[in-house]
Symmetry: C2
Subunit: 189 residues, 2 copies
DNA sequence: CTTAGTTGTTATCCACTGATAACTAGGCTT
DNA sequence: AAGCCTAGTTATCAGTGGATAACAACTAAG
């Protein structure tokens, strides 16, 4: 029989995961602490007690998502330490759609100084990790992140990924251009 | 002596502009209709009366921003119809920081079906406009938009643009990589 | 001057939300 | 079994925000 009561650390972890799920949908201002609480099966005041404020809960969610993203990249680099392989890892990130979504909401909420600082920190860590793992140049990493941000935005708009809206011609064109480049045979290969 | 009372159409335009400014800071859920009203110097209920709902006001703001972005690209293409010139136009967009910010908040708020539909429409128009103006391939346009999204996100995080935070090494590296590619002399030139 | 239509306001409502305080209950140690 | 710490709850509040309704004031036509 599973323990009914968790330690504060365990509950904190569980709440951070729930926060990722909840904030991924409607963002910082659009999500209530009660949404997160219900998702985790606890009362709303307890969420505030554990994290101190909604702001800190959101920061925890962003850091939780960023840590998972880093892990996915690290796992990919384990297979092969180049940008192409890390690019394939984006498929996993797009499958776990909450991760990139919550990061995007972090970008959007960066006008709050505390959130902005935390989000910049997470983004910087990911940037440096990619460079360290692959040894790519600044320009290559920039292009890689550019495509990544485009994918993130397209996923948020439900143009790609699970739950995508019926495709318009331009959507198929962009989606196709991404798939083509990632899977195209080597020139002359 | 200037007219004190505006026609509904004029006031609507003015409110849309104010909405861009207001929503650019805190996004859809984080901005009150009263913020927009005060910025335009009218009462909050009047804003609702003119637009029907906060949702429609936000959609109007997104469309207003997208139209201005299209105009900037069109003006740039007037000078020279290639991606490099349109890339330079990003400097203007980053200077008018509200435009890209409100679009980003639109992406983030796309889980609302009405907003999502409007935002996809705007994005699709911009995509097609870029292709039509420059004749670029789908892959080139994708890369162009990728860098664009990266710039948009970096601006939202206050890593680049006006009001940027003190630079960390990784920030200088990314910012440098963008500037370098845009201004570098032709190979062998 | 009067009437009518449109621009705009004030007053008000109700639902929601983050946060606090006070209380309850499970579980470990002695 | 008694006591105590920690996990969790219920009750409650003060502020906010979107929306409605009723009213006021400017302007133009006849």
């Amino acid at each position: 029989m599973p323990r009914t009561r968790l330690t504060a650390a365990e509950r904190g972890e569980q709440l951070a995961a729930a926060a990722v799920q909840a904030f991924a949908v409607s963002g910082y201002a659009g999500t209530s602490t009660d949404d997160v609480a219900r998702l985790a099966g606890v009362s709303q005041p307890y969420v505030i007690r554990l994290f101190g404020s909604k702001q800190r809960l959101f920061v925890a969610a962003v850091q939780h998502a960023a840590a998972r993203i880093e892990q996915v990249f690290r796992d990919a680099a384990e297979r092969s330490a180049d940008l192409e392989t890390l690019g394939e890892a984006y498929d996993e990130l797009l499958a776990e759609r909450d991760l990139l979504a919550v990061l995007l909401h972090g970008f959007a909420a960066s006008s709050d100084p505390v959130i902005g600082s935390a989000v910049r920190d997470c983004f910087g860590r990911i940037y440096r990790l990619i460079r360290e793992l692959t040894g790519a140049s600044a320009e290559e990493t920039r292009d890689f992140l550019g495509i990544g941000m485009l994918l993130t935005v397209l996923a948020a708009m439900q143009v790609i990924g699970p739950g995508a809206v019926p495709a318009q011609p331009w959507m198929a064109e962009i989606a196709g251009s991404i798939h083509d480049t990632c899977t195209e045979p080597e020139p002359g290969g």
